[in-house]
């Protein structure tokens, strides 16, 4: 009996023996089916591990069994991996260690079973599910587009701890194992088979039969042998040094030292060749124990669960899913409109893109075809799929042919009158229950609803630039927007591969409202003498995906200035933008799109090198007084401006919960995921300390000089309440 008493068990755990069924379809064959009644998808949680223990004991004692097959309740449902939620709740490293060692023991017993063991898998096979499979003599997987196999643990701030960090390199060699574990990628069936992660592929309908044949020895197991490569690569000190160096560089480029898990995984995998099983168990247990209780893991798991929860927005309260949106219209063929339409066409939605300018439509068509061709070239799409994706984008000069569309998204100029006119025209041309969405970033959805027939179907659907890369969509609820409209729009966002967050209809919604003061503080420090390169470097080190000046160049000065202006209008004096950015704008200097911004994007440079800073920035600087500020103060100043505004937005409940709030900051602003998002960061600093930091910065001469505009450093009431009560944002939910 293994001891799992310390391992948290779900509240609705079923009776012992209920999670696993053992079938005996023929003499000598035992089929172990994971089928937990309390889960929609079986997970390696405490009750299931307990049952597995019992099943193994039974099999070990049964001499008549020749072959054992481990499989899921359906060919596309094996196991969803470890019970991440339970692991994230453990705070005692000793308990983590014990739990890891216990499961290691269990898995080792699978490996030692006398009969031939086969894992018959399909659908998602992540983490623990794959680790269990690797203990079998062979893995057979369904050759299906839903099959995805890998070890994604590092994405959650831990390492493959149930043998994966060792069994995978033993199985496929160092280079492939590093690639799989450090990226956390889930591989499609064909790729997994080519890499040697699984031994045989078959169609879902044959999975049971082929697994039985393999288990009973009717078909010989053919395993990819690494042979010489094992000695030339895995055990060759020179090759290992090279591999290690390369992998380390790759990890540094992404993690910047902020994420401990990939580094730990790298060490484990590199040490795997030559280690014994018991050494492996101990090493993994130590690593998991150290990581799982750390703040990074807790943050990443928090974000993961928040993003899973966000998908529930795509369902009605009674659990039903809204009807899939098959046809859409997008009005406005600019970067945003074109990007949205292209994304839709790529994601199975027929879309009609309307613009008054044929040239804009041509450019959008060109970009769409280019993107699809790229996916085709990378074999993400077959020729037929690529053709369909191209065919699904229609264009139209002027609004026409929208009568069959389920939703229209307008992405025309940010002028209320223009948007109102377009929505009015759409309302007249479309079915009465079609959604009318606006991609506005600065205008009020409620105001747009006024005077439109059926205002309950008008909603904000705010995509971020670049549309295809940014994972967040803000679903903006206007005063009259109905719940059904919110759900249907969120479902579309999910179908498009995006994470929806519902926000209130306030200026800038959530993401731009937070980015406004953040960017403005950076500009102000630049004006007072700090180099943009230094500021960018500091914030990247803080954990932002790019520094504020790189971001300004990406966004475009004109767009950023417009957004800052509308925030100022909406919130008054505390959002007063520094006038320097406006002064830098010229047709040649709008950021990356015009070639020049804070950086010179036209300069010749080697691939992978970042663009050099512009030579003339000095003339926009007005003093040198901030030059002597410490790195710490510079980072704090910029981040605090965002935290201060974030506290106000939280107070107003611009989004419903702290978890969704943080999800939006991570997916929308790129706020350091390992810090758990903006509020997570604020909580880790503590409200009391934030208060004193705000006070300190508010008292600095350059801030005092701003007069009333310094108001952004005045703490929100909620921050004071939290400080007094010793509470956290996330504690308030």
């Amino acid at each position: 009996m293994i001891d799992l008493s310390q391992f948290p068990s779900p509240a609705d755990a079923p009776e012992p023996g209920a999670c696993i069924r053992v079938e005996r379809p023929e003499e000598g064959l035992a089929v172990v089916v994971f089928d937990a009644p309390h889960r929609s998808f079986s997970v390696l949680d405490a009750p299931l591990l307990r049952d597995l223990d019992a099943v193994l004991t039974e099999l070990e004692a049964d001499g008549s069994v020749k072959g054992v097959v481990f499989t899921g309740r359906r060919p596309d449902q094996f196991l969803a991996g470890a019970d991440v939620e339970a692991i994230s709740r453990i705070t005692d490293p000793g308990v983590v260690r014990q739990a890891v060692i216990a499961v290691h023991g269990l898995f080792e017993r699978i490996e030692r079973l006398a009969p031939r063991t086969i894992a018959a898998v399909g659908g998602p096979v992540p983490g623990g599910a794959f680790e269990l499979s690797m203990c079998c003599d062979a893995i057979v997987a369904t050759d299906d587009s839903r099959t995805r196999i890998g070890l994604p643990e590092t994405m959650l701030g831990i390492i493959p701890g149930w043998g994966g960090s060792h069994r995978l390199p033993w199985r496929v060699g160092l280079p492939k194992a590093l690639d799989a574990i450090l990226t956390g990628r889930l591989f499609p069936a064909k790729k997994a088979w080519k890499m040697g992660m699984v031994d045989r592929l078959t169609k879902a309908e044959y999975l049971e039969r082929i697994a039985a044949d393999l288990a009973m020895g009717r078909e010989r197991i053919k395993r990819k042998r690494r042979g010489r490569a094992k000695w030339l690569v895995d055990r060759n000190p020179i090759a290992r040094a090279v591999i290690r160096g390369q992998a380390r560089k790759g990890v540094d480029a992404k993690a910047h030292g902020n994420y401990p898990a990939p580094y730990a995984a790298l060490d484990l995998v590199m040490a795997a060749p030559g280690r014994s099983l018991s050494e492996a168990a101990r090493a993994e247990a130590d690593a998991v124990a150290a990581l799982a209780i750390g703040p990074v893991c807790k943050s990443l798991v928090g974000i993961f669960f928040a993003s899973e929860a966000a998908k529930k927005l795509a369902k009605f309260e009674d659990g039903r899913s809204p009807e899939r949106i098959r046809r859409a219209a997008v009005v406005g063929g600019g970067i945003m409109g074109g990007g949205i339409a292209s994304l839709m066409a790529d994601k199975q939605v027929e879309v009609r893109l309307a613009d008054l300018s044929r040239a804009a439509l041509d450019a959008a068509t060109w970009q769409h075809r280019k993107d699809i061709a790229k996916k085709r070239k990378r074999r993400r799409l077959s020729t037929g799929q690529a053709n369909s994706a191209m065919d699904r984008l229609e264009v139209s000069v002027g609004i026409s042919g929208v009568g069959e569309a389920d939703i229209a998204i307008e992405a025309v100029a940010e002028v209320m009158k223009v948007k109102h006119a377009v929505l009015g025209e759409l309302a007249g041309a479309m079915p009465a229950d079609a959604i009318l969405a606006t991609n506005t970033s600065s205008l009020s959805v409620t105001e747009m609803q006024r005077g439109l027939p059926g205002p309950e179907r008008v909603v904000g659907m705010h995509f971020f630039n670049p549309v295809k890369k940014m994972p967040l969509v803000e679903i903006v609820r206007g005063e009259e927007t109905s719940d059904a409209t919110i759900t249907r729009t969120a479902a579309l966002a999910v179908a498009l591969g995006k994470t929806p967050v519902v926000t209130k209809d306030v200026p800038g919604f959530l993401v731009n409202r937070l980015l406004g003061p953040y960017l403005d503080e950076a500009v102000r420090l630049f004006v007072d003498g700090v180099s943009p390169v230094r500021i960018d470097r500091l914030l990247v080190a803080f954990g932002m995906p790019m520094g504020p000046f790189t971001l300004l160049d990406e966004v475009g000065f004109d767009i950023a200035a417009h957004a800052a202006g509308s925030l100022h209008e909406g919130y008054g004096v505390r959002m007063t933008p520094c006038d320097a950015l406006g002064g830098m704008i010229s047709p040649e200097r709008l950021g990356k799109k015009s070639g020049k911004g804070f950086y010179d994007h036209t300069a010749k440079r080697k691939k992978g090198q970042s663009p050099p800073v512009m030579g003339d920035l000095g003339r926009f600087q007005r003093s040198t007084r901030a030059m002597l500020m410490s790195d710490r103060d510079i980072t704090d100043r910029i981040v605090l401006a965002m935290v201060g505004e974030g506290a106000r937005a939280f107070e107003e409940r611009v989004v419903a919960t702290a978890a969704e709030f943080d999800l939006a900051t991570v997916f929308g602003t790129g706020f350091a995921p390992f810090r758990g998002g903006l509020l997570g960061y604020a909580d880790s600093v503590g409200a009391a300390r934030l208060l004193s930091m705000l006070e300190r910065h508010a008292a600095m001469p350059d801030v005092v000089e701003r007069g009333a505009a310094a108001a952004r450093f005045e703490p929100a009431a909620v921050l004071q309440e939290l400080a007094e009560a010793g509470e956290t944002f996330h504690g308030r939910g």
Binding site: D362, A363, R369, D391, E404
Partner: protein, 440 residues
């Protein structure tokens, strides 16, 4: 006013139509693919008519040379255009008349009671016609495939000679009549010699075709017909093709006179200037009954009054329109003079002029048509009023769709009761469709 008596059976109409610009082969559509080009036009016509795509009884596409990887091009186009999979699709061919064949096939099915709503199309991407390995190279490949031992393989490879790589040009071979062994241009030379048609006449006719086409384009005459398209393979910053692109605004008989005869040197009359161009294009037409069109809320362009297909001498295939028109006129009792506008496909200027002579020739009427009197005069002022294939181009399988679409629009735009679309067909055939105005 013409006395019109409707045929038996349901009243067949062309309910709506749309075509791509006709684009010179190897030009801006060089990277186009038949499935893509056709489906874009069909998709837009579906949206514009608002017909529920699943309502069609069948999709019929006429094409002379479907790509080798899309043999039933009709099915490919239909599915890519968003027509649901339960609607069947077939590809039909009658050489240059394939586009009309699609329509008459659909009309015949309606008359037979098989259905009452058809999506038809004429489609040709001549840019994509392949080069084919010659016989020697093909034999070598066959030997290689059969080779069992290394020796056999080496022997096969050793038999290679550089001249094996000389390709066969599918386009050129496709435009040769295998019965008479004549290139299409050579059949036109034969017609020119028969009727004493001169080089000057041909060049003058060709120049007029360009003038009329340019005028029609500038007057917006084709706006309702053409869907501007952004071609596959277009470079960044390039624009959609808005018009047929082979119309020459500055064409003149003097310029044409400088060209050398192409098919018969040195005395022939056919040059590349007074012959139709090799072209890419697609045209879609919705064929249904008057009743169904009404139910769908469509205002039909024309009623299909009568049509005929006729065979003639392969070596003089250019006279096919005379043979087919004769049958249509006989069947309906209409005379040439009753017809307001005629679209007679301009394969070659010499061939159009030859038709004109044959229409009024008593000898031709007696000898070839078995009639006692000539058919009448083909009024060239009422023929191809918007220019023809010499200016616009001739994407073989697609041309029929354009002839019908233009002739149908001409009923209202030219205020006519009847219009005719007719064309000659490689292999010695003619086709003619008589269209009648319908209350809209």
């Amino acid at each position: 006013m013409i006395k019109v008596e409707h045929d038996e059976g349901p009243e067949v109409v062309i309910a709506a139509g749309l075509r791509s610009p006709w684009v010179r082969a190897g030009g801006t559509f060089a990277k186009e693919d038949a499935g893509h080009l056709g489906s874009q036009v069909m998709r837009e016509l579906l949206v514009r008519t608002g017909i529920e795509p699943g309502a069609f009884d069948e999709v019929v596409v006429g094409s002379v040379g479907p790509p080798h990887d899309q043999a039933n091009i009709a099915r490919v186009v239909a599915l890519r255009a968003g027509i649901p999979r339960h609607v069947p699709a077939r590809t039909v061919a009658r050489n240059c008349a394939s586009g009309i064949e699609a329509v008459t096939t659909a009309a015949a099915s309606i008359k037979a009671g098989a259905g009452d709503l058809y999506m038809t199309m004429g489609l040709e991407v001549m840019s994509a016609y392949p080069l084919i390995f010659g016989e020697k190279m093909t034999n070598l490949f066959a030997r290689l495939m059969r080779a069992r031992s290394l020796g056999q393989r080496l022997a096969a490879i050793g038999s290679f000679r550089p001249n094996f790589l000389k390709p066969r040009v599918a386009l050129l071979e496709g435009l040769t009549d295998p019965i008479s062994d004549l290139l299409m241009g050579q059949t036109a030379e034969l017609v020119a010699r028969d009727f004493g048609i001169t080089r000057e006449e041909c060049d003058a006719y060709a120049a007029e075709s360009h003038r009329r086409a340019a005028q029609a384009r500038d007057a917006g005459r084709f706006e309702d017909e053409i869907l501007p398209l952004f071609p596959l393979g277009a470079k960044e910053g390039s624009t959609s093709v808005l018009h047929d692109d082979s119309i020459r605004d500055d064409q003149s008989p003097d310029k044409l006179a400088k060209l050398r005869p192409y098919f018969e040197k040195p005395d022939g009359v056919v040059t590349v200037g007074n012959a139709c161009g090799i072209t890419d294009g697609a045209g879609a037409l919705v064929v249904t009954t008057a009743e169904r069109a009404k139910a769908l809320g469509l205002a039909p362009l024309a009623r299909l009054k009568a049509w005929a297909w006729a065979g003639c001498e392969p070596a003089r295939m250019g006279l096919g329109p005379v043979h087919a028109t004769a049958q249509v006129l006989d069947a309906t009792g209409v005379t040439l003079g009753d017809i307001g506008a005629i679209e007679l496909n301009e394969a070659f200027a010499a061939q159009v002029l030859g038709c004109a002579r044959a229409f009024e020739s008593a000898e031709f009427a007696g000898g070839k048509l078995g009639r006692t009197s000539p058919l009448g005069t083909l009024d060239l002022d009422r023929t191809n009023v918007n220019g023809g294939a010499i200016a616009l181009g001739h994407p073989v399988g697609a041309t029929g769709a354009r002839l019908l679409l233009t002739a149908a629009h001409e009923l209202e735009k030219g205020d006519h009761e009847l219009t005719l679309a007719t064309l000659c067909i490689g292999g010695g055939q003619g086709g003619a469709v008589l269209l009648e105005r319908i209350e809209r």
